[in-house]
């Protein structure tokens, strides 16, 4: 009998053009290469200077998302780009895609959106694939049982030219989430709790495989939220074994196999889950039964607490270095150790990003906000993850719910998650954000980010203070 393999090992083994040796890393074949305007221009310059072509433009897909505005369309139906640097970046992407024959979802066109929202939505993301992008949240696509990870621009050039990467095999970590989520507790709370428990460096060198009853019960949107933030736990990739939920999601999507090809693909995909008896290098655990909504108080995503809890005190920190880090973080956030976050005033609510910008996220936020008003003095931005999400939400009337409550309904893109456009949290202001990073200045210079689920964010929009969403359901 052959040695039992993990999901990761099966995908890895199936994509080795050349296995790794003591002297050389593996040459790994990449099935799908996603590109966007920010991390690709220098890679195109590199291959152009070397006189190379894009080896597989049919396995490369481009979108515009990071530096694009989310402001309303003009009378001609066009989203106006004002920032000259953004204009230049978008123009370069157009030129590069046209020259090398790469399909591009143009700003404002019906399929454009955040790179990690459009891949799954178009059916380009499929189980068992290797997927890369010059963006750390490429881990999102692992929700389908794909091996998906972020790369730098040098490697973007490698994949453009050869469709391959040089990689050392990662170690594996089983992340088991048993039990069931209670009402008002979401996938976002699972991943924030895992990172709070194991730290932002806890997954370094590992590929996570999320498993257990609580993971099986999640929709694809929710699995994507969890895999998305694997990088925030230090893991380069996170995966979930494909199952009926996965196949049902992929079926019928634009780039998905059709008819008999789809049946054959499903038969292959069913062989992907980790074998009985497969061993992992490491294990992490979380009990979903015990979980309550989570929120961050500090300046990295590991600085999170149950929303009913209190900001840690210096005494609770393990060593001097952690005490210094907490001290600095709380000074930046202007929060006091030992105090609860519940009731703390907030200024901005951001619903969106590759973490929580999909239709189900907007539905949850809309459900919370329906028939209520955004609190006075609070600005609520709702930014769909893609034009498809935007259209579907509008078909359901979610935009009207948000607008009636006083929230802004915007065009699709990365937006305030990294504030490369004008969607910025002003200095000193508190933002409850459904995005993935609360780093110093991440949402704008001096911005203070509290990461939470769409439910928690929407609840805060209504009350104007940090609020346990379960008290409003």
């Amino acid at each position: 009998m052959s040695t039992p393999k993990t999901l990761f090992e099966k995908v890895w083994d199936a994509h080795q053009v050349r296995p790794e040796t003591a002297d050389t890393p593996a040459v790994l074949y990449i099935d799908l290469h996603l590109i966007h305007e920010v991390t690709s221009p220098q890679a195109f310059t590199e291959i152009r200077e070397r006189g190379l072509k894009v080896r597989r433009p049919d396995r490369t897909l481009a979108t515009m998302d990071h530096s694009t505005p989310t402001t309303p369309r003009n009378a001609q139906g066009i989203i106006p780009v004002i920032d000259p640097q953004a204009i230049n970046q978008l123009d370069q992407l157009r030129t590069n895609c046209a020259e090398f024959g790469i399909p591009l979802f143009e700003l404002g066109s019906e399929n454009q959106g955040i790179v990690h929202v459009i891949g799954p939505e178009q059916g380009a993301t499929q189980p068992g694939m290797t997927i890369v992008c010059g963006d750390s949240h490429t881990s999102t696509h692992g929700a389908f049982g794909a091996l998906a990870f972020g790369i730098g621009t040098s490697e973007v050039g490698h994949v453009l030219a050869t469709q391959c990467l040089l990689q050392r095999k990662a170690k594996t970590c089983a992340v088991r989430v048993d039990g069931r989520l209670g009402p008002g507790v979401t996938a976002k709370d699972i991943i924030l709790a895992i990172i709070a428990k194991y730290g932002v460096g806890g997954g370094t060198g590992y590929v996570f495989e999320y498993m257990g009853e609580a993971i099986r019960a999640l929709s694809m949107d929710e699995r994507m939220t969890i895999c998305n933030m694997s990088i925030e736990g230090g893991a380069r990739a996170g995966m979930v074994a494909p199952d009926e939920t996965t196949f049902e999601y992929v079926a019928g999507r634009h780039f998905a196999p059709k008819g008999a090809d789809f049946d054959a693909a499903v038969a292959r995909w069913r062989t992907l889950p980790s074998d009985e008896g497969a061993t992992f290098d490491h294990e992490m655990r979380l009990d979903a039964d015990e979980l309550v909504p989570m929120i961050t108080y500090g300046t990295n995503p590991g600085m999170g607490i149950p929303i009913t809890g209190t900001v840690p005190t210096l005494d609770e920190m393990g060593d001097a270095s952690a005490r210094t880090a907490l001290d600095k973080a709380l000074a930046y956030m202007a929060l006091e150790p030992g105090k609860p976050l519940l009731g703390h005033p907030i200024d901005i609510v951001f619903i969106g990003s590759c973490t929580n910008g999909r239709l189900s996220d907007l539905r949850q936020a809309a459900g919370m906000i329906k028939g209520r008003k955004v609190a006075e003095g609070v600005r609520m931005m709702v930014v769909p993850g893609s034009q498809q999400v935007r259209q579907q939400a509008e078909a359901e009337g979610l935009d009207e719910i948000f607008k009636a409550a006083g929230a802004e309904w915007r065009e699709a893109g990365c937006s305030a998650c990294l504030a490369m456009n004008s969607d910025v949290v002003p200095p000193g202001k508190y933002a409850v954000s459904t995005s993935n990073r609360n780093f110093v200045g991440r949402q704008g210079p001096g911005s203070r980010s509290l990461l939470a689920s769409p439910l928690t964010a929407a609840a805060a929009a209504v009350t104007g203070v940090v609020t346990d969403p379960r008290t409003m359901m």
Binding site: V17, Y29, T60, P103, D135, A325, R437, F439, G441
Partner: protein, 204 residues
Amino acid sequence: MDPITTITGKVVAIPTENIDTDQIIPAKYLKVTNKDGLGDGLFETWRYNADGTPNSDFVLNRPESAGATVLVAGKNFGSGSSREHAPWALQAYGFQALISPSFADIFKSNALKIGLLPIIVDEDTYYQLVSLCEEEPQTTVTVDLASQTVTLPGGQRVSFPIDGFSKHCLLNGVDQLGFIQQQESDIAAFEASNLVALNTSLRG
């Protein structure tokens, strides 16, 4: 890429854990389509006051730090965003080697690609280096890649790990893209034998 054999240079320490790539280079600098201006944005929020003047308290702005080529920083350096602009900015500023108890995976990979040497040391050595920098701002170290050692001012030699292939590429200035291109026949054979598994065309 030029080969790297030894690096002898002045050390500066930023003894902070989990320095993410947003701190190394903020997103607003990511709007370039080349690598221009990244050195100016390195550690922007720490280097400059809100009015744009240099923050004289920050270690890189102290006169004695001028010309430093080796940066010592707390564990999990380079976490967060995969932006290669972070190692580009460090290199443009003048750094040639980084020393930390640990590096984030993508950052380390990106740094190695451009010949910015990430050196992993144990916690004791890290704290020793931080103390040395505090006591003597002109502290210099010598990194020898072939023997995988860092020599501290007192002559103490500390060894560090590095992947054999990365070491080979750095020592000999090997171009990794060129290396992959040499595998062309294997890549073509792989594609030919995996048509069923790879049947999605994005043009379809």
